[in-house]
Amino acid sequence: MTTESDLKPRYVGQSMKRREDPQLITGRGTYLDDIKLPAMLHVALVRSPYAHAQITAIDARRALNRRGVVAVFTGQDMLDINPLPCAWQAGRVTNHVNTPRALAVDTVRHVGEPVAMVLAEDRYVARDAADMVDVSYEPLPAVVDARDAIQPGAPQLHANAPNNIVMEWEAGDRAKTDAAFAQAEVVVAEPIINQRLIPTPMETRGTVARYDAATGEFTVWMTSQAPHVMRLLLTAFVFGIPETKLRCISPHIGGGFGQKIFCYNDMAFTMWAARKLGRPVKFVEERSENYRASTHGRDHITDAELCGRRDGTITGLRVKTHANLGAYLSTIAPGIPTTLYGRIITGVYAIPAAYCHVTGVYTNTAMVDAYRGAGRPEASYLIERMVDRFAAEIGMDPAEVRRKNFIQPDQFPYENGLGLLPYDSGNYAPALDKALEMVGYADFRALQAEARTQGRYVGLGISSYVEICGVAPSAWIGLAGEGWGAGLFESANVRVHLTGKVVVTTGSLPHGQGLETTFAQIVADELGVPYADVEIEWGDTQGTPFGYGTYGSRSLTVGGTAIKKSLDKIKAKAKRLAAHMLEANADDIEFADGKAFVRGAPAQAKTLAEIALQASVAYSLPEGMEPFLDETSYYDPPNCTFPFGTHIGIVEVDPETGHVDLQRYIAVDDCGNLINPLVVEGQIHGGIVQGIAQALYEQAIYDTNGQLLTGTLLDYAIPTAAMAPHIETAHTITPSPVNPLGVKGAGEAGTIGAAQCVMNAIIDALAPLGVKHMQMPATPERVWKAIHKEL
């Protein structure tokens, strides 16, 4: 007999190939630039060539004379709309907030800041005409480095932010930490630079805006990871119109990695122009525009100190970070180097005393905001580099130092003393052991010793990380002083239609994560319906419940659980209705395998389709029951989840050229239960290569005048297939107790684990040459200089 408890999942846990793919592999997807509307105008922007300047005059006459040009607008034309909002004012930034306007007014503060928009019938004409707009500038001195920007006499970006300081923020116990250092047997200290990166989704960003003058309604297609949030920000904050007058639609999104979470000025100026001209307006960034003016990530300069005993016990961690936030505050920028970084700097270790101070700084550079991992890669890089540095200092095996200091399984839920909610669950040693076993650790050390006798420099790097996913609950992130201006729940509606087909609408916003497949697996199992009968809908604020979107590895933990809650409600109602149909007591009804039946009498079951039909035609319903199986849930988790794992890399460094050959990469990740292992593995692979790219290849570089020297894909080295290693993966599984699915999140894990793994391997390889530390990216030049002490 089938019961609820012994029913095996048919889909959950299976590596099902993705239902998203048939469209995408045949070129039938719909990305933003594929959208064409009748009478649509194309936008080309005039952007500032200066990092800091006064705009003294804008003359658009030549452009307006060009055939095909319809209008040219400047910031002065758009003073009737507000600057973009900053929605996460962490660290009491309130009085120092400066955000971009739709187009610059009077002053430009970074290269690429938009100054004027040209609208034309054709994209080539728009581009031609943009070059014909004459803008006069009075250049001002610029500053690009966070430490330089806070010095007396540095160029000032904003009147309300003296010394360019956005905020001073701290976490942990300073006095206790200072005392730990005063008593320590061993102290190691290093400058740790987490260089600026450019997220680089393969699709750039863009917006298509349409305005209907008869109804006063906007429809805006956007490359957004969070269309509901954009709707809220653009109406309530930028335009001051009812939220109901804007419909936001995210079509297929060509990757986001955080860069597409935020509210951008193109959303505002396309809407403004569409309303003004009464014609649809399209703007799509070129790659070099994306590099100069969409958000960047990381850019921390840190002084890190770690102390401990000669037996390998870590007793204290003290961190001072300068976080470069760029010329203005992007939508959630202040929250990244604070809540998502400073509160997790102790990583997987039980460190009794820790303190973190962060200074957020304005500079004449592109805005910095969340990029895959967002704060957590910076934190895990820092602690994992320092732990290796400490191990080398006391001459102890880095794996043993890690094992000795891990938070132990019986310490969960674990409070780290940095103002974070307690770590939900974890068991760190098995992941480390598995990775060491996969790499053949003991054998490796012997091979390494032998290689060294031959003058070969091979090294092994270990990274044991923990991260924060599904950031919530709203009461913590909002009320408890983290400065978040909204909630962080997620929503889902589930309807079982008259024909028994199931439609799920979600506030999550898949853009490569395979959520349609993963969610459908959960729904089909829970309701016991064929997988093909489940449809997942997303991306349109008209027709999906309000949700916060997809980022921070939150969509399965928070969005998936919202779906699960609605499914539970559907099943509860189906049981009550089945009891009515079977003339039984509702308490005696079980629901399993898509059927409701009286416990012990499965032969007279009612299928979900029969129940849905009865609910929909509504001829006979129990007293007081509303027709239709239709349930909405908003899930606000009681805690974040804390995925973890250990990654190990092996490199060989050529001491002649400084070239690093990454020969093996092993990742053992624990993201709780796996709904679709194939999809999870893909997330891990992609994340790891982004982390490796930070270690070896990528860096956004500004010269001292604020010119972006890595302004195209020609100069900014995102890895090709030949630059990426083969990746060996495995999992341990520690279900999260936070949500009923037992999932922890997987989208950022790879990135959070990878960079320090590669750097630790390089430094291990070069240890015989006296190299103790070096900065990323470990380009051949930098490695060569480290070997030759020309740091």
Partner: protein
């Protein structure tokens, strides 16, 4: 304006184009074949790869007028309607795509690679696809997919 005649996915088209029109814009804007994507402005990313007389080219760096008289194949025409090319099958089967933005160009480049080297090693695949950037997959499953497609295409019953 210049008149050009070319065959795209088996259909002949005659159109007037500005001489400076890029092939990618011609395909996307005039023929509504939006499966060919644009990911950069420096000919790095390969999102725009199509076949010109059977050989892969970056359509963002090719003028439409250069294709007068040519045969073009895009992702939409790689396999007959309603069927999938073995590479498309393999990308689906082995999770060789996530956001899908790089995928059309990646598959078109891989098809050309396999035409030139039907049995590539993983390393040859990695080097053969160096003109195509993917930010999502880390390439691991792309390499697996191309290897698997190569095997299937090489086997006698393919």
């Amino acid at each position: 304006m210049t008149k050009i005649t070319l065959t795209v996915n088996g259909t002949r088209y005659t159109r007037d184009v500005e001489p400076r029109t890029l092939l990618v814009h011609f395909l996307r804007e005039q023929l509504n074949l939006t499966g060919t994507h644009i990911g950069c402005d420096t000919s790095q990313c390969g999102a725009c790869v199509v076949h010109l007389n059977g050989v892969s080219v970056k359509s963002c760096t090719t003028l439409a007028v250069q294709c007068d008289g040519a045969e073009i194949t895009t992702i939409e025409g790689l396999a007959p309607e309603g069927t999938l090319h073995p590479l498309q099958e393999a990308f689906w089967e082995l999770h060789g795509l996530q956001c899908g933005y790089c995928t059309p160009g990646m598959i078109m480049s891989a098809a050309d690679l396999l035409a030139k080297n039907p049995h590539p090693t993983p390393s040859e695949i990695r080097h053969g696809l160096e003109g195509n950037l993917c930010r999502c997959t880390g390439y691991e499953n792309i390499v697996r997919a191309v290897s698997s497609a190569a095997e299937k295409m090489g086997s006698p019953d393919a």
